[in-house]
């Protein structure tokens, strides 16, 4: 629909292959194919991923780290595993310039850093990717949710939390407890009292 097809093509150059290891921490940020700045993220199991600097900015945690000058060497993220980080990096790449979260990015604009972050409408392709992204089992989804929480990335949070809400929406109370790993610690009397107090919601 849109006039320019230039958006996605430039992003294709970014490959999220494990990057060459063993660089000294004082080296300046790598230049990706296309002259873009990239940083290297390192998972808990020692896998390294190259990610475009602008894409990494989708995560507030990474943004803080980069702004503190930690983007020079591989950035260790010990509580994320390689497969999770691979998925997350792919999502960042696909969400580049997504208007749903671009506002926030523009507000924090610094020295024209986001000038090529022109907002685009989420295409059907992005929406399809999002659906595919969260069609995983409960444990994998929880891993992604924890990663989203740690990285503080609005797009990742929205996509994963929405999926979890969808999953529990039509479950019975017992199923929801099992899903979240909860033990019912109400006594029958307490539960009855709560139901009575919140009658307006449990009718």
């Amino acid at each position: 629909m849109s006039s320019g097809d230039s958006g996605p093509s430039s992003s294709k150059q970014l490959v999220q292959q494990p990057a060459a290891a063993g660089r000294s921490p004082n080296q300046p940020p790598l230049l990706g194919a296309g002259g873009r700045k990239v940083i290297v993220l390192k998972s808990g199991d020692e896998e390294e991923f190259e990610v475009d600097l602008l894409d990494a900015m989708q995560s507030r945690t990474l943004r803080r780290a980069i702004e503190d000058g930690c983007g020079d060497g591989p950035m260790p993220l010990p509580n994320l595993t390689g497969p999770v980080l691979a998925k997350v990096v792919e999502l960042f790449r696909r969400h580049r310039g997504d208007p749903r979260w671009a506002d926030e990015l523009q507000e924090t604009e610094k020295e024209g850093m986001f000038k090529d972050y022109a907002p685009q409408k989420p295409t059907a392709e992005v929406k399809g990717f999002d659906r595919e992204f969260v069609s995983v089992d409960r444990d994998a989804l929880f891993d992604l949710l924890r990663a989203a929480n740690f990285l503080e990335a609005p797009g990742l949070l929205d996509v994963t939390c929405d999926a979890a809400a969808d999953a529990v929406m039509n479950m019975t109370v017992e199923e929801v407890r099992e899903y979240f790993g909860l033990v019912n610690d109400y006594t029958p009397e307490e539960e009855a009292a709560l139901r009575k107090q919140h009658e307006w919601a449990f009718q």
Partner: protein
């Protein structure tokens, strides 16, 4: 925790995962998941365990929808597995009241309140939301029995310092605005089924929203306005859409002053007059005049004149999408020599619909072509290709077409021809359609050396039973002398 290389000094320290009684996920995540549920379901999670009892009261998003959660037709299974009978209508008011009294977050990020019944204490609810610093407010109210008097919204709403996104659906009732409007943080406003009542206050609503970036007016009623004035220097996207039978724009002057506008959509009837400053940075323009036929009786000329003057202010558009009436209006402008033609000097993409592919329609399209040497993509939607004249007229038409394109070598890269008229009455019509399309393709291939993408969309080419037609067309297209080596042809429907 895996052994990480100690060389780096990152501040992104890993957060500990508390294995507390909330379960497997950290609390902020659970709150966020709850905020994606309708609030009714979020409240019910208090039954899960004692730690969850008050968890929902901290969510930042409230989603209260009477239509979805309170008015049932028949029975529905609820999370406990029990069947629930149809609920009494009055309980929605009680529910919202309880939710707002239990909910204890100082900052309410988002409130979605869709309400179907009349007697709700809406004033109080909105006031509560505004005082909790609501940022996104989505209100849908039932239409007021007396459409001209609805004092439903508190004036506090219109001076909110925190509101960023406002969606209002009044079901056709009047929007009574207070004397002071100052929505300083508002970026997006969407008004649906709203009846505007006062020229000055309506003007103030838009001009005092000094951070407004996107404004959508959907199916609004302008009958009581003499002038709809939108002057807002921060505005980037504006859409005026109305599919109502009587939107009242015909007796209303439309004035727009938005120097930073980049996207403009107008799908409504022709207004009485347009006072529009030239949009210098506009990129995307879509104009579709509605119910034009009803107007034609009153005097085509004056209406076409109004419409064509409208185009002057849009001449910076790069991506233009216009309806058959616009083509008519542009043509009108062209044939009256005392009016200079409207050039679209920056046009990159042109999408246009024409009723049928006759001389005059083609002439307008060609003329836009001639004026726009930078045109890259052309999308032509033809109402009905199969209505066509005698064979003699047809010959002439093709000749004319060929002659027009002969000396024009453009830089068009993408052409899409969409044809309506899906029910082909006879084999004659099928043959004629195919011929016309092929003729157009031939002319385009011969004149556009950079053409890379050719898309033909018609039911005719995609039906399984007529796949032989598609093959024939494809074969013909490939046999034409063409200027480009890498031409891609696609058939879609």
């Amino acid at each position: 925790m895996a052994s990480s290389s100690s060389s780096s000094s990152t501040s992104a320290s890993p957060v500990e995962e508390p294995e507390d009684s909330f379960g497997a996920l950290p609390e902020p995540i659970l709150l966020l998941i709850l905020s994606f549920l309708p609030t009714l379901h979020a409240v019910r999670t208090s039954i899960l365990s004692t730690r969850w009892r008050t968890l929902w009261t901290s969510i930042g998003v409230l989603d209260l929808d009477e239509g979805a959660d309170f008015i049932f037709f028949g029975t529905e299974t609820r999370p406990t597995g029990a069947k629930r009978k149809r609920k009494r209508k009055g309980s929605f008011a009680e529910f919202v009241g309880k939710v707002l009294s239990f909910h204890h977050t100082p900052t309410l990020r988002k409130l979605r309140l869709h309400c179907c019944s009349q007697n709700c204490p809406l004033q109080d609810w909105v006031r509560t939301a505004v005082s909790r610093g609501v940022q996104t407010l989505d209100l849908r109210l039932p239409s007021h029995p007396n459409r001209n008097s609805s004092g439903q919204l508190p004036s506090l709403l219109f001076t909110s310092q925190s509101l960023v996104d406002l969606r209002l659906d009044l079901g056709g009732s009047a929007l009574i605005l207070p004397g002071t409007v100052a929505l300083v943080a508002l970026r997006r406003m969407r008004l649906c089924f709203v009846k505007f009542c006062d020229d000055h206050l309506t003007r103030a609503l838009f001009s005092n929203s000094t951070a407004l970036k996107r404004l959508v007016l959907l199916n609004c009623d302008y009958q009581m306005l003499g002038r709809l004035e939108i002057s807002c220097s921060s505005l980037q996207e504006l859409a005026i859409e109305s599919l109502l039978k009587a939107d009242g724009l015909g007796s209303c002057e439309v004035k727009i002053a938005a120097p930073h506008l980049t996207s403009f959509v107008y799908r409504a009837s022709v207004a009485q007059a347009y006072v529009v400053e030239r949009f210098l940075s506009v990129e995307y323009v879509k104009i579709q005049f509605q119910r034009f036929e009803a107007w034609e009786v009153l005097g085509q000329h004056s209406i076409l004149k109004r419409a064509s003057s409208f185009f002057c202010s849009l001449s910076s558009a790069r991506n233009l999408d216009i309806c058959p009436v616009c083509v008519k209006a542009l043509r009108f402008r062209r044939t009256n020599d005392w009016l200079y033609p409207i050039p679209f000097r920056n046009l990159n993409v042109l999408r246009t619909a024409v009723k049928d592919l006759d001389y005059s329609a083609i002439r307008v399209v060609l003329w836009l072509f001639v004026l726009n040497p930078h045109l890259r993509a052309l999308i032509v939607e033809v109402g009905d290709l199969s209505v066509l004249p005698s064979s003699a007229g047809k010959e002439d038409f093709f000749k004319f077409l060929g002659a027009c394109f002969k000396h024009r070598c453009g830089v068009v890269e993408k052409v899409e021809i969409r044809c309506g008229g899906s029910n082909f009455r006879s084999r004659e019509a099928v043959r004629y359609t195919t011929e016309t399309v092929l003729e157009l393709v031939k002319v385009l291939l011969g004149s556009q050396p950079r053409l890379k993408k050719l898309i033909l969309s018609n039911k005719l080419f995609c039906d399984s039973y007529s796949s032989n037609i598609r093959d024939v067309v494809m074969e013909k297209v490939l046999s034409f002398p063409k200027r480009t080596r890498e031409l891609a042809v696609a058939f879609i429907y």
